[in-house]
Each structure stands twice: as structure tokens, then as C-alpha cells.
């Protein structure tokens, strides 16, 4: 038992305690469990949504990108800004509609807006297929962080089991209240750790930020700008656009919107969020500091940049604190993912085929599904291999396909019909799968195009196909309805 390990476990116990205690004074029903009774103020909604940004990816991925790819990593900072600007106008009407109709899941939204259970089933299945690999990624990240930070005294596998069990316990007991309370501890510790690392490491190793970037400029100038080919300016712009539109289309992030107690919460958050995002800048600083200090990490091991340089610079107890921060970074988004998946299966799949099931039965089923989904994810974590990596790459592109029909559903006169939404999403997903499985890029499909177009994020292709199909099918199905009612010349 080393010091680092004791620190990690202390934080884990505190967070489980907070997660369980969160239930206090609440009668748990389904709406409480998934949406917290729509009672959360600015702070909780803020922390739940931030849980989405500060995941294990923040720790490992963002610093790894800065280390291995350099400037392209800045897209992570930029897309958040645009997502938050959009959120100011996008989230209030969604919240209002969800409250009026007492929605508990993302699929509910599509079912009600388009009056189509079939669309709900499609959206649920796509959502589940996207979320389970995302949860597996969180568990894998957790395993790496905890085993590294405990200096190998806990194996990644054991760490993953401990993490998964902790999440399952507080999700089953407290639902989203548990996630909210755990996220308080998580954000405090991440904020402190990341800002400290980002300030300390550059100054300790280089003297100042300027000197650090001058040193990198001398050794690897290519890391400080976007390259001419590949991750070029065009890649940068298209990726920011795609990821900012997809930010609120993840099913678990969507449900977090429902927890707000009024719509002003979102507008306030749109002001504070961008600044809070600057925490990521410090993560980048850590990655940049590692370039010349722990050189030679390549491929998947790039993600270890932050942990390697920290172990070089700090005593074990502080490495333990970093490990605890990484552990907590996985718990909050992990819990939201588990809950959203369980809700989709019980409410939007099971209930459709068993319409007579009562709300109580649906709620009970959702709770019991939590450990089952956790077990399935644990299985994939150790046996997934390449499949899970491929699914993960597709996950983001999967959920972005919801955006067009979500966007048009906000119009008073929605030009999109349920069939348009359904086939648009379906064809969009098929394009994503095809392009990922066959490893097709825009360049390989159409080699005659200029470099700028080839560098575009391939997700754009699926989105464009989706929108085209959506409008064509909407037009066709609209005409059918019009002629049936015998009304002529309706737009």
C-alpha cells in the first residue's frame, strides 16, 4: 500500500459517500432519478454539462494531442466556445418542451416532436451504440490513470472493476442527484490539479511560458501551427463545426438539459462556460511541456504524456491526487452514460413493445439495467479490441446525425416530416459506418478535388447526405399527405 494509492482511495470513498448521500430527502421516482425532478440551478447544470468536457479525455487525450500533434489540439478549446454560443438559443426551447411534456430521455423528444415511436426506436438504438463505447473509453482511461498513478500496484483491470462498481452503486441509489454531487468534488480537484500542473511544469522546466514555446519553436516549429496538409486550416474549421453541433446531441448530455429548473440557467452558463474552458489551456501547457522533457512517446502512448512528466516532477502523494482527479473525471460522465443508456432501453425500447408497463415498472427496470450495462461494458473493456476502437471513432459522427432533425423541430412550421427525419438519420448512419469500416476519406473517394476539400472532416459527408435525404423524403411524404386531404398548392 503506497501513499498514492491511499490518496486515490480516500477520494473515491468521499465521492461514493457524496453520491449516496445525494438521495437524502428525495422520494425516488423515475423523473427524479433521470432528471432530478427538473430542480437544478445554475451550478449543478453547469457542473453536469462540464462533466462532459472534463472527462478522462481531458487528462489523457487533450495533453496527448498537444504533445503529439501540437496546434491542432486547439480545436478542443475552440469548439466549446461555438457550442456554448449555440446553447444560448438552442437549449431553452428544448428544455421548455421537455418540461411541458415531462420527457425523460433524448428519444422522448423525437417521439413527441415527430409523433413517431419508430423514430424514437431508431434514435435510441443509435444512441446506445454510440454511448456504450464511450463508457468503455472512460473505463479504459480510468484504468490507465489509476494504475499509472498507483505506480503499478493496482492493475488497470482491477481499477476498472472498482470504478465500475462505484459508479453502479451511486447511480442505482441516487440517479442524477448522485452525479451532480460527485461532480462538485470532481471539478474542484480537477481545477486545482490542472491549473497547478499547467503553471508549475512549464516554469519548473523552462523558466517561463515564453521560454518553453521558444524552445519548442527551435526544436519542433511544426507543432506550433496547423500544417498545410492533413490537419490543416480546413480540417480545423470543419472539425470545430462538426463537434460543436454534436456537443448537445449526445443522449446523456441531452438529458442533463432536462435537469434545469428554469431556462435562464442555460443563458447564464453560456456566459461562464467559455471562460471555464480555459482550464483546458493548462492541460495543453502540460502536453507542450512534456514534448522536450519526456520525448519519444508515440501512438497510443502519447496519451501518457501528462502522467509521465508528473511522475518525473512530483512526489508520490501528489501523483495520487492526480490519479484521484483522473478517477473522478471518469465517474461523472460514466454515471450519466449509464443512466441515459438504461433509460433509453427501458423507456424507449421496452415500453414501446410493452405499452401496458406502468411507470413504476419502467423505473425499476431502468435501475436493474444499470449493473447489467456496466457488466457488458466491462466485458467490452477487456475483450473489445479493434471493434470498440472503430465504434468509438463512429460514436461522435453517429450522434451528430441527430442535429438536422433536432434543429428543424424547433421551427414553428417544421418542414421536416417524421419519415424525413427517420431516413435522413438512417442513411447518415449508414454513410458513417461505410466510411469508417472501409476507411474511406474524401480524398480517396474523389481524388480530383483540391486539397482543401480533402482535408475536411469526413463526418461532413455523412451530415450532408443526411440533410439531402431528409429534405427529399420530407418533400415526398408531405405531398402524399397533402393530396390525401385534397388541399391544393400547400407550399
Amino acid at each position: 500500500m503506497n501513499v498514492a494509492l491511499i490518496v486515490i482511495f480516500a477520494f473515491l470513498l468521499i465521492s461514493i459517500y457524496l453520491g449516496i448521500r445525494a438521495k437524502k430527502g428525495k422520494t425516488m421516482n423515475f423523473e427524479q432519478w433521470t432528471t432530478g425532478g427538473r430542480s437544478f440551478g445554475t451550478v449543478f447544470v453547469f457542473l453536469l454539462s462540464v462533466g462532459e468536457i472534463y472527462t478522462t479525455f481531458t487528462f489523457l487525450g487533450a495533453s496527448g494531442w498537444a504533445y503529439g500533434k501540437g496546434a491542432p489540439a486547439l480545436y478542443i478549446l475552440a469548439y466549446g466556445c461555438i457550442a456554448f454560443i449555440i446553447s444560448y438559443w438552442l437549449l431553452p426551447p428544448i428544455w421548455r418542451y421537455a418540461k411541458e411534456n415531462r420527457l425523460v430521455s433524448q428519444s422522448d423528444y423525437f417521439v413527441y416532436k415527430y409523433n413517431s415511436p419508430a423514430l424514437g426506436i431508431l434514435v435510441s438504438i443509435v444512441g446506445i451504440v454510440a454511448m456504450i463505447p464511450y463508457f468503455v473509453l472512460q473505463l479504459k482511461g480510468l484504468g490507465i490513470i489509476v494504475s499509472q498513478a498507483s505506480y503499478g500496484s493496482i492493475s488497470p483491470n482491477l481499477a476498472i472493476w472498482i470504478g465500475a462498481i462505484s459508479i453502479t452503486v451511486f447511480v442505482m441509489i441516487s440517479g442524477v442527484h448522485g452525479s451532480a454531487w460527485t461532480s462538485v468534488l470532481k471539478d474542484i480537484i480537477i481545477l486545482v490539479v490542472v491549473v497547478f500542473l499547467g503553471l508549475y511544469l512549464p516554469i519548473h522546466y523552462y523558466g517561463s511560458f515564453t521560454q518553453m514555446f521558444h524552445a519548442i519553436d527551435a526544436a519542433h516549429p511544426e507543432l506550433l501551427t496547423l500544417p498545410d496538409k492533413g490537419m490543416s486550416v480546413y480540417w480545423f474549421i470543419s472539425t470545430i463545426l462538426l463537434t460543436s453541433l454534436g456537443f448537445y446531441t449526445w443522449p446523456h448530455g441531452f438529458t442533463a438539459i432536462y435537469t434545469a429548473k428554469n431556462e435562464r440557467v442555460f443563458r447564464r452558463n453560456a456566459v461562464v462556460f467559455p471562460l471555464y474552458q480555459l482550464v483546458l489551456l493548462f492541460v495543453f501547457f502540460v502536453g507542450f511541456a512534456a514534448i522536450l522533457q519526456v520525448p519519444g512517446l508515440q501512438g497510443a502512448t502519447e496519451d501518457l504524456a501528462l502522467l509521465k512528466i508528473s511522475k518525473l516532477a512530483f512526489p508520490p502523494w501528489f501523483v495520487g491526487v492526480i490519479g484521484a482527479a483522473g478517477l473522478l473525471a471518469a465517474l461523472v460522465p460514466g454515471s450519466l452514460l449509464l443512466m441515459a443508456t438504461a433509460t433509453l432501453i427501458s423507456k424507449n425500447l421496452y415500453k414501446v413493445f410493452r405499452p401496458r408497463a406502468t411507470d413504476g415498472q419502467i423505473a425499476k427496470l431502468a435501475t436493474y439495467l444499470v449493473p447489467i450495462i456496466a457488466l457488458v461494458s466491462l466485458y467490452f473493456t477487456s475483450n473489445g479490441g479493434q471493434t470498440i476502437v472503430a465504434l468509438l471513432l463512429m460514436g461522435y459522427s453517429f450522434v451528430i446525425q441527430f442535429f438536422p432533425s433536432l434543429f428543424f423541430s424547433l421551427f414553428r412550421h417544421n418542414p421536416v416530416t417524421w419519415a424525413g427525419a427517420f431516413y435522413g438519420i438512417l442513411v447518415g448512419e449508414i454513410v458513417v459506418v461505410y466510411m469508417t469500416v472501409t476507411n474511406t476519406s474524401i480524398g480517396s473517394m474523389m481524388p480530383f478535388l483540391p486539397q482543401a476539400v480533402k482535408d475536411l472532416n469526413p463526418g461532413i459527408v455523412a451530415l450532408i447526405v443526411n440533410i439531402v435525404v431528409m429534405f427529399i423524403v420530407s418533400l415526398l411524404t408531405r405531398n402524399v399527405r397533402v393530396s390525401r386531404h385534397g388541399t391544393a398548392s400547400v407550399t
Partner: protein, 66 residues
């Protein structure tokens, strides 16, 4: 007057169009390479702009509906 809404377009232009001109290392500003500084600048400006939007938006006026 809904003009204030268009303020929200400024950061989007600043980031997505601005990057064509900002994709460079020199000059260093505040110790950061220029591209990094440019993105950070717009992160800060986004917060400030959204604050102005929040204050000008009539739907945020009136008593707290909490």
C-alpha cells in the same frame, strides 16, 4: 430590436475565418505562439460578448423565476 443576437456571430467568424490569418507562430503574444493566443483571445471575448447578449436580452429581465 433583436440586433444584439448577431453579436453571437462574432466569435464564430473570429475563430472560423480568423484562423486563416492567425495560423502563424510569430509574433509571440503573452508568451504564447500567435495561433494559440488568437484562440485564447476569442475564448475570453466569447464570454464577454455572451455577457453583453445576456444583459441586452429582454427575456432575462424581470424577476428571477426561481
Amino acid at each position: 430590436m433583436r440586433l444584439f443576437r448577431w453579436l453571437g456571430a462574432l466569435p464564430i467568424l473570429g475563430i472560423l475565418v480568423g484562423v486563416f490569418f492567425a495560423n502563424r507562430i510569430h509574433p509571440f503574444v503573452l508568451g504564447m505562439p500567435f495561433l494559440m493566443f488568437w484562440i485564447v483571445l476569442w475564448v475570453v471575448l466569447t464570454s464577454m460578448i455572451m455577457f453583453v447578449v445576456y444583459k441586452m436580452d429582454p427575456s432575462n429581465h424581470g424577476g428571477d423565476a426561481e
